[in-house]
């Protein structure tokens, strides 16, 4: 029974985090038409920032000796923070929310820097630059030890430890709540005049220019907003895992899975993103769940099978259902016709 619940909770958190990333991608590609193949960059930025700062902020807030080497004494520092916030919810929440705010700012800035060289150029240049940037982020994370410990990991304080036994459940609910909030925010954003504007940029840049819109400005704004949102996902995932491992933020996991989810669900459509994430997560979890029974039949690690299936699914979706499960719907005017002559 307990096992089933934890399995379910695991799915929920996967769902929530991937939903955030997919919504970010949907905003960038589905609505604005920016093919962001460096999505992993933003997620990694969020995770690395969390890994590097959550503990340091905790040290500061809880008044722990700051001459300790953060990486070397990381497990010790984390347990000191954890015990400091065990009976002090306020400190825990401060760490959690201040980290997320910093993550938002840092990810937006990184998103701006990464896309700046190519945002004015053709889409294929942007794709190449963003892929390369995501790769670079991973290399920095793996090698610059003061960040998140390089090839080892750093741990993240358990900010809800004051909840006692329910800490991890409460964290999961918080993550889910944040993802729902982001979903509602996205729905609101895309139905506002700004949402119309970004769709116009996607449809035809020249026409958008000719109705007086600054296309480059809009694209930069969306790159920053999308990166910030994907950064939040990275941060939440780190809080959930309790650790940040630089090597985990790969192109496959954090760029292509979200792409597949968005494509399956339907681009340019937040409900579609939701459905896509749910579909893929369930399939993927099933593979992992039946991993051991599968492993008896296939002569190699299931990881690779998963990747091959991912690639196949992506191609098949593009061939047979490019509009996704739930195609984009035309927007209805929010306000009734007020006058008619």
């Amino acid at each position: 029974m307990m096992e089933n619940i934890s399995w379910l909770l695991d799915i929920v958190v996967f769902f929530a985090v991937y939903l955030i990333v997919t919504l970010a991608l949907n905003l960038q590609y589905g609505y604005t038409g920016i093919p962001n193949f460096g999505l992993a960059l933003s997620v990694a930025t969020g995770a690395y920032t969390t890994g590097a700062l959550a503990g340091r902020i905790g040290m500061w807030i809880c008044g722990i000796r700051s001459d300790l080497d953060y990486i070397m004494y990381n497990p010790m520092i984390t347990s000191m923070i954890n015990s400091a916030i065990r009976y002090d919810p306020l400190k825990g929440l401060t760490i959690f929310f201040s980290t997320i705010i910093i993550v938002v700012i840092v990810s937006a800035i990184i998103g701006f820097i990464a896309s700046y060289p190519a945002i004015r150029l053709r889409a294929d240049y942007l794709m190449m630059v963003l892929i390369a940037m995501a790769e670079a982020a991973r290399i920095i994370g793996l090698n610059y030890t003061p960040l998140v410990g390089g090839t080892t990991w750093v741990s993240v304080p358990n900010v809800f430890i004051w909840m006692g036994d329910m800490a991890s459940q409460f964290l999961i609910i918080t993550i889910l709540a944040i993802s729902i909030l982001i979903f509602l925010f996205m729905q609101y954003l895309v139905s506002s005049p700004y949402g119309r504007l970004i769709k116009a940029v996607r449809e035809n840049e020249l026409t958008a220019e000719c109705v007086g819109k600054d296309v480059v400005k809009v694209k930069i704004q969306i790159m920053m907003l999308g990166s910030a949102i994907a950064g939040i996902a990275g941060s939440l995932w780190s809080f959930y895992c309790g650790t940040v491992l630089a090597a985990a933020y790969t192109r496959t996991d954090w760029t292509f899975w979200p792409w597949l989810m968005a494509m399956i669900g339907g681009m340019g459509n937040n409900i579609g993103a939701l459905v896509g994430v749910a579909t893929v997560i369930i399939c993927r979890r099933l593979i992992i769940y039946y991993k051991y029974s599968l492993e008896a039949y296939i002569p190699f690690s299931v990881v690779w099978l998963e990747q091959i299936l991912l690639a196949l699914a992506l191609i098949l979706v593009m061939m047979f259902r490019p509009q996704g499960i739930i195609p984009e719907k035309p927007a209805k005017p929010k306000i009734k016709k007020t006058s008619q002559q």
């Binding site: 060289p117 294929d124 794709m127 630059v129 670079a136 190699f300 690779w304 990747q307 690639a311 593009m318």
Partner: protein, 317 residues
């Protein structure tokens, strides 16, 4: 003083990068999309060399022709099986590009599976390997340097002659410039694309098969090289294979020497950030001269031509 080994490193690397970049640029020009799976053809080459050297225990150079054939075959398969089908289903430029990324994941997974499968058979570690000890030496130079240089010179000559002297090469260039006009004149555009994909994939396979003779081979070779290939082709201008050649050599040499100099100055830990060098160059190029070297040369020629005209006009009046 720059150590000799470093020069060898730089030259071998630049040679291999050139082979990859020329292919990447050529497919880009013909198919009009960046092929993100291009590096994986090199990955295929790497594992063919491993098979030949470790499993069959033969001379690693036997892998070269084999790598060409198998990679070329995979190239044709990807183009006809995936890209063309997608195009028929009305795929856009973005969806075609995504499909090349999907192929990249798939080939990389297959290589990993193959590596796992080889491990017990070969009795050697199949995920990080180096065959420098199997290479021959000639007048003190490593064989792979000589072979890759010879191959490269042959390749450049072959490509140049093919593109300027043969009907097929000329029709390829015609397709690059205006595929609908080429089809009006009787070029089967799809066939030309297939052949060029085979050719470029084959060349990438050869580059991959030579790689483990000097550098470490692993299943991620292809995707590790990708940033350098992008940087080299964009520096070259993404519009001419000669530009790509120059770009590849500049990136290859800067990457190796730059890493060395930085490591000398700031400490050995900097070598790990090697791939940031091509990325930095890539960004600088895009910000300052997005049309790359080819663009710079074209501007220069245009300026010279108009100056000459002004001169003629001055003499005339």
């Amino acid at each position: 003083m720059i150590p000799l080994a470093l020069i060898e490193d730089a030259l071998v690397y630049a040679n291999l990068l050139l082979m990859l970049t020329v292919g990447f640029t050529l497919t880009y020009l013909i198919a009009k999309i960046p092929n993100f799976a291009h590096g994986e053809f090199a990955g295929i080459g790497v594992y063919i060399t491993f098979t030949v050297a470790q499993v069959w225990k033969s001379n690693p150079y036997l892998a070269v022709p084999l790598a060409f054939i198998i990679s070329a075959f995979s190239g044709a398969l990807i183009y006809n099986g995936v890209l063309r089908t997608l195009k028929r289903f009305g795929g856009t430029m973005i969806s075609l590009t995504i499909s090349t990324l999907a192929m990249q994941i798939m080939i990389s997974a297959l290589l990993n599976i193959y590596a796992d499968y080889l491990y017990p058979i070969a009795g050697a570690y199949s995920r990080l390997f180096l065959f420098r000890h199997l290479d021959f030496e000639f007048i003190g130079l490593p064989g792979v340097l000589i072979v890759s240089t010879i191959f490269l010179l042959t390749l450049i000559t072959f490509l140049h002659l093919m593109l300027t002297r043969t009907r097929f090469g000329i029709s390829l260039r015609a397709v690059v410039e205006d595929s609908s006009l080429a089809s009006i004149l009787g070029v089967n555009v799809e066939l030309a694309c297939t052949i060029s994909w085979m050719l470029t994939a084959g060349i990438a396979g050869v580059a991959g098969s030579l790689l483990p003779l000097w550098f470490q081979g692993h299943p991620y070779t292809g995707s590790m090289l990708l940033t350098s290939v992008f940087a080299a082709s964009i520096l070259g201008g993404l519009s001419s294979i000669y530009g790509a050649m120059i770009g590849a050599y500049i990136i290859g040499l800067t990457e190796i020497f730059g890493t060395y100099l930085l490591a000398q100055t700031f400490g050995a830990q900097l070598t790990a950030y090697r791939s940031l060098i091509p990325l930095t160059i890539l960004c600088i190029v895009l910000l300052i001269f997005p049309r790359g070297i080819t663009g710079l040369i074209e501007d220069l020629q245009a300026r010279r031509a108009s100056k000459a005209m002004v001169k003629i006009r001055g003499e005339g009046s």
